[in-house]
């Protein structure tokens, strides 16, 4: 049982009357790639900013390497790489200057790597930071963070503003970092296809708390998606195995958790059932967090969280 690299315990935070985090609990183990997902305004950035000590929690605590986020010192900060949403870089610097500056603050900085990636991305040494496009700034701050060989990489929507080619380049950079150093990664993202490639654990943040916190492979093995059209007024199924039933033009779209053969047999007997298949991350995300429709069943979602809490750590 290793100590987690990142731990949130009952973290609450509000801005004036607006409650953003109602009680955030999750851990990221060493070497894990954890994707924090949620709709805009779900509290992802707030959570990451609390973790890095930019914001203090009102209740609960967050720790990095076992140290409270409100008292992180230089030795812990040196082990964390951070890519923020806003990609803050000093506006008077050139690309080369920013690389030199970062190299001076990080003992393990890999200059060759940084130069090679920046060159592939088409950034020149003498370009001024304010003249870079949003995507170029995103690339630069990513390269700076990764080249420092951090033990923990925290990225707040790193792919935002990157074009498709640069997103793939970012994935490659991340894969290399993971293969070389076994770095722990915590990132938020809206690009669910990328998340499916790279993350081994996902958390769905909704309304200030996690509604899903589980290994991606476990979700794919336990959740099934299907469409069922009842015959002769059969009732829409409910119970612990039905995550959500969404009315469709004909029938209902069902998200099932650990569906027992008896339930599937019953659905086949009482209606037309399309072959159940695991949902993509996007289908699960929209299914669970999509616009509220009649038929939401909130309680079973807890079991997808509880299962990972029991199985994890």
């Amino acid at each position: 049982m290793n100590d987690p690299v990142v731990a949130f315990a009952g973290v609450q935070r509000w801005f004036g009357p607006h409650v953003v985090l109602r009680g955030l609990d999750f851990r990221v183990a060493k070497g894990q790639v954890y994707a924090l997902l949620g709709r805009n305004g779900a509290g992802k950035s707030t959570a990451l900013r609390i973790l890095l000590g930019f914001l203090a929690p009102h209740r609960g605590r967050a720790t990095v390497f076992g140290v409270d986020s409100t008292s992180l010192g230089p030795s812990e900060r040196a082990r964390i790489g951070y890519v923020g949403e806003e990609h803050r870089l000093y506006p008077t610097m050139t690309v080369g200057g920013a690389v030199a500056f970062e190299r001076g603050t990080r003992p393990g900085f890999r200059s060759d790597f940084a130069q090679a990636v920046l060159q592939r991305a088409g950034l020149r040494q003498n370009q001024l930071v304010p003249r870079l496009s949003r995507g170029q700034r995103a690339t630069l701050s990513l390269v700076l963070a990764v080249a420092g060989q951090p033990d923990l990489l925290v990225c707040d929507d790193p792919a935002l503003g990157l074009d498709v080619v640069m997103r793939r380049e970012f994935l490659d950079v991340l894969i290399d970092l993971l293969a070389d150093t076994g770095c722990t990664v915590l990132f938020s993202s809206h690009f669910l296809a990328d998340v499916e490639r790279i993350a081994d654990h996902v958390g769905f943040l909704h309304d200030g708390a996690l509604v899903v916190d589980a290994p991606l492979a476990e979700i794919q093995q336990r959740v099934l998606r299907t469409t069922w059209s009842p015959r002769g007024g059969a009732a829409v199924p409910s119970g612990p195995h039905v995550l959500r039933a969404t009315p469709r033009l004909s029938g209902h779209e069902l998200l099932l958790l650990d569906a027992p053969p008896a339930l599937l047999a019953q659905l086949r007997a009482t209606g037309d059932l399309l072959p159940p298949a695991p949902p993509s991350l996007e289908e699960l995300f929209v299914g669970l967090l999509g616009p509220e429709r009649p038929g939401i069943l909130a309680e079973p979602m807890d079991s997808l969280r509880a299962a990972s809490a029991a199985g994890g750590s």
């Binding site: 070497g31 790639v33 793939r168 994935l171 490659d172 894969i175 290399d176 993971l178 293969a179 070389d180 296809a193 499916e196 490639r197 790279i198 993350a199 081994d200 991606l216 492979a217 794919q220 093995q221 086949r268 072959p275 298949a277 695991p278 949902p279 993509s280 289908e283």
Partner: protein
């Protein structure tokens, strides 16, 4: 060895990698003793997390499809499986039962299923009546 996956499929990526290797062996597209790509190479090539490749290789090693030689990498054993004969038979039974069940629910008859299985075997170039223990059939 050709290892391809579909990242948009909902099937877990590590299982896809496991199946891709097993399928290459079954098709005869990979030779016993052949070296697998390193974790890093394959992760880079497929654009997936290296941990996923590690996990797939662990499963392949557990199933006896590959062996890990310290410092040298992973190699195909060439044997279908090191599991005991009864356990292998049980797994085969379970696999076919599952396939047959699904096929039944798609509305196929026993004759349809038999014919389809025959076609699958032909695709994999199984010789008729060939002993399935690859250890014995080494040429």
């Amino acid at each position: 060895m050709l290892i391809r996956i579909d990242a948009t499929s909902a099937e877990p990526l590590f299982e896809q990698v496991v199946f891709a290797v097993k399928s290459a062996v079954a098709r005869g597209a990979a030779e016993p003793g052949e070296k697998l790509p390193s974790v890093r190479e394959l992760a880079r090539d497929l654009g997936i997390n290296p941990n996923t490749v590690v996990r797939a290789y662990e499963v392949l090693e557990r199933d006896g499809v590959i062996v890990r030689r310290q410092g040298a990498g992973c190699f195909l054993t060439g044997s279908g499986s090191d599991l005991a004969a009864t356990e292998r038979r049980r797994q085969l039974q379970e696999l076919l039962l599952r396939a047959a069940t699904e096929a039944f629910h798609l509305g196929f008859t026993a004759a349809d299923i038999e014919k389809a299985l025959r076609q699958c075997l032909d695709q994999l170039e199984f010789a008729p009546n060939e002993a399935k223990d690859p250890k014995e059939k080494k040429a």
